[in-house]
């Protein structure tokens, strides 16, 4: 495969957080150019075929999306041909001849037919809505045991961080392995779009957004930013490479290797900033213990429950008063860490929380 190598960075021994941050920023997300010849596309010149309208179906739900598209295509075509056919026929048959105005007498309203042509399309629309929503749930509801990849978008490039902390500028996936992208933006709105996967999701600064899919076909696909983000918007594209196996991915990818795993970075942040008030041995302290909370529904002082996910952790660190766990009220004793920990640091904390949950959870 032939794509430009991502920038490799000099390894440093300094493990301090600030350097870590500079280092990730220095990766600077160079736009990689992918020769278009390497992009997979099965073309056809028959405009009634699915392949004419769409790129390769490379995700599990691509077929379903295309099915709905082609269904609407055919329904529309039938309606359109009928409407335009009738229009042309009437215009020829009833055209005014020799300037003589002679409309034939005919009714000017007919409630039965009016209701018929209001209701009939409605039924079709309900079906379209239903099929669209069904597939869409598949596109939006996370898959079990999905590999989690952190996506960082920035004017005008991409950075992908994998579970072991290694990074790339292209997205490397393994065939038949479901993926969950956890996306964040460093500046303005961006949007993750891989046409071959039929998947798209905006990336909104100040919060996390997610995208789920399962690649089912290996190859190189175009990954582009789909939300206008400034000067280099059209250059903010890279490759998405689906490998045949985990091994293939491991060996055929130029990794930007992490000197520390996200877990280790998260642990370090925890020790510096959190350990004063939060324990990881299950004991409540000034604040709740952190070792088992990930993915749980926590009870709040106002009686509601909140799922501990990425946004919850981000909110709890940046806006501590927003969610207060039952038993720790009435007001939060925690200061906001906004401006002290940025979103990337929060990512590390999340990685730490996840690891804690799975290790302690397994132990029990």
């Amino acid at each position: 495969m032939n794509w430009q190598l991502p920038l490799m960075l000099a390894q440093t021994n300094d493990s301090n957080l600030e350097n870590l941050r500079e280092r990730t920023e220095a990766i600077s997300m160079q736009g990689t150019t992918v020769p278009d010849s390497s992009l997979v596309r099965e073309g056809t010149s028959n405009p009634f075929a699915t392949e004419y309208w769409f790129p390769t179906q490379a995700s599990s739900f691509a077929g379903e999306v295309d099915f709905l598209y082609m269904s609407i295509f055919w329904i529309s075509l039938v309606f359109f041909v009928a409407i335009i056919g009738a229009m042309v026929y009437f215009c020829v048959k009833y055209r005014r001849k020799d300037g003589v105005i002679a409309p034939e007498p005919s009714s000017s309203h007919n409630t039965a037919i009016e209701i018929l042509w209001s209701v009939l399309p409605s039924i079709i629309l309900v079906w379209i809505f239903y099929v669209g929503a069904e597939t869409w749930f598949e596109m939006r509801i996370p898959k079990e045991n999905a590999e989690e990849i952190q996506v960082t978008a920035k004017q005008f490039g991409w950075l992908f961080t994998y579970e072991d902390g290694d990074q790339t500028n292209e997205l490397h996936l393994v065939r038949d392995k479901p993926v969950r992208l956890i996306m964040q933006s460093e500046d303005v709105l961006h949007s993750f779009f891989v046409a071959a996967f039929r998947q798209k999701m905006d990336i909104v600064p100040g919060r996390y957004t997610y995208a789920y899919f399962e690649p089912i076909k290996d190859g190189v696909y175009r990954l582009s930013c789909n939300e206008y983000c400034g000067t280099g918007h059209s250059k903010m594209k890279t490759a998405c490479i689906v490998h045949t196996s985990e091994e293939d991915r491991k060996n055929n990818t130029k990794w930007i290797e992490a000197e520390k795993t996200p877990f280790e970075n998260g642990q370090r942040i925890y020790q510096i900033h959190c350990s004063g008030c939060h324990k990881v041995d299950g004991q409540a302290a000034t604040g709740p213990a952190l070792n088992l909370i990930w993915g749980e529904n926590e009870k709040m002082i106002d009686g509601t429950t909140e799922l501990v996910n990425e946004d919850y952790v981000l909110d709890s660190i940046w806006y501590p008063e927003k969610h207060i766990v039952e038993g720790y009220g009435p007001v939060s004793k925690m200061n906001s860490f906004k401006g002290i920990l940025d979103q990337k640091d929060v990512d590390y904390v999340i990685a730490y929380l996840k690891e804690l949950k799975s290790s302690t959870g397994d132990a029990k």
């Binding site: 302290a285 008063e321 927003k322 720790y328 200061n335 002290i340």
Partner: protein, 380 residues
């Protein structure tokens, strides 16, 4: 129509319809004109409500998402001044209603008096608002990006400020009204000299209107210092209901060298500290120098304990009250126009539309304040 007929002003183009003095050429009758105006002003009020609705939605969303910000922030608003302004505006609505009634009865003189009182109330409202704004600017209570709360009141640098012990900002906010006042007084004298009695009367009324602003400023300053004197008690009462304030005082002790936050916590079972204090100190680095500010009041919330987004509350506060103030100013201009027409004796039992329309607008502006006051000043 019957009355309109007696005021016919025929011209070549108007041979198909009869028209009264104040009926525009394209209307058939006074009723049609009045109905059109009435529907028009109601629709305009609908657009006004929707115009404000954007800010109300923003308010609702941020209050839902950051309730703590709103609880922390509203204590900085002086509800006595807000209450005073509410009374002033309610009273102005009353005089406006009386003015409309007078116009309906064709009593132009009464109408002009009521409109003048309404205008004075309006400027008085702005005067009080100026006191509030300048007080907040002094303390660094600004929009989100510039929010920098300190309790220091900078000493006035302007001569007037020094003489009257009022803040520079208040002096600046008084410059334009002072110029207007001088201008109107001069204009009234000139009008008198060139024998335009009506114009002179109008200018005097405008000068009185602008004086309302200074009345507002004086009353506002008195209210402010009176409530400041009882700040201790007033804040104490707030604090009693505000658990958050407890935290503020905790924080003060912390400033005096006690880093052991856990001690103050009822829920904390085990206040043992494994984390090193040096690191722990790190995120409290934004504290002001200990014991630095002489004017630091234990009952005022410590700036460092405030959520960083308290400024958003004030962003919304300034947007809402600022937009409302712009509407008040627009209302004053419309009222001045009505006042002038009252002097000319335009209102008759069959023609009083403009007073009615502006009256409706004025009630709406009043109504919006009736919503703003509790939403901003009286949270909880």
């Amino acid at each position: 129509m019957a009355v309109a007929d007696s005021h016919d002003t025929h011209d070549d183009h108007h041979d198909l319809y009869d028209h009264g003095e104040f009926i525009a050429h394209h209307f058939d009758s006074a009723e049609q004109q009045f109905d059109s105006g009435k529907l028009g002003i109601w629709l305009f009020l609908v657009t006004e409500v929707l115009f404000f609705s954007g800010l109300f939605v923003a308010y609702t969303l941020y209050r839902t998402n950051h309730p703590e910000v709103f609880e922390q922030a509203h204590v900085f608003l002086n509800k006595y001044l807000g209450g005073l302004n509410t009374i002033v505006l309610l009273f102005s609505s009353l005089t406006m209603a009386l003015g409309v009634r007078a116009a309906q009865l064709g009593r132009n003189k009464n109408c002009s008096v009521y409109i003048l009182i309404t205008m004075v109330c309006a400027t008085m409202f702005l005067g009080v608002k100026a006191v509030e704004y300048s007080h907040k600017w002094d303390m660094g209570i600004l929009v989100r990006s510039a929010f920098n709360l300190t309790y220091t009141h900078p000493t006035p640098t302007t001569e007037i400020g020094k003489a009257l012990h009022i803040s520079d900002y208040l002096v600046y906010l008084c410059i334009v009204p002072a110029l207007l006042l001088a201008g109107f007084l001069a204009a009234s004298v000139i009008s008198k000299l060139i024998n335009k009695a009506m114009l002179a009367k109008f200018m005097v009324a405008m000068a009185i209107t602008v004086s309302g602003y200074f009345l507002g400023v004086v009353v506002g300053v008195i209210f402010m210092s009176a409530t400041d004197a009882e700040t201790g008690s007033s804040h104490a009462s707030v604090i009693a209901e505000q658990p958050l304030m407890l935290m503020a005082s905790t924080q003060d002790e912390h400033d005096e060298g006690d880093h052991d936050e856990g001690d103050h916590d009822k829920a904390a079972a085990d206040p043992n500290h494994e984390g090193d204090h040096a690191d722990h100190e790190e995120h409290f680095g934004s504290h002001p120098a200990d014991g630095g500010e002489a004017s630091f009041d234990a009952h005022h919330p410590d700036p460092s304990t405030l959520s960083r987004d308290v400024g958003i509350f004030f962003s919304i506060y300034y947007c809402m009250t600022g937009l409302h103030a712009i509407h008040i100013i627009g209302g004053i201009i419309a009222l001045a126009w009505l006042y002038w027409r009252s002097l000319l004796g335009h209102w008759r039992t069959d023609y009083f539309g403009p007073v009615d329309y502006v009256g409706l607008y004025w009630h709406l502006v009043d109504l919006i304040w009736i919503y703003l006051f509790p939403l901003l000043y009286l949270i909880d």
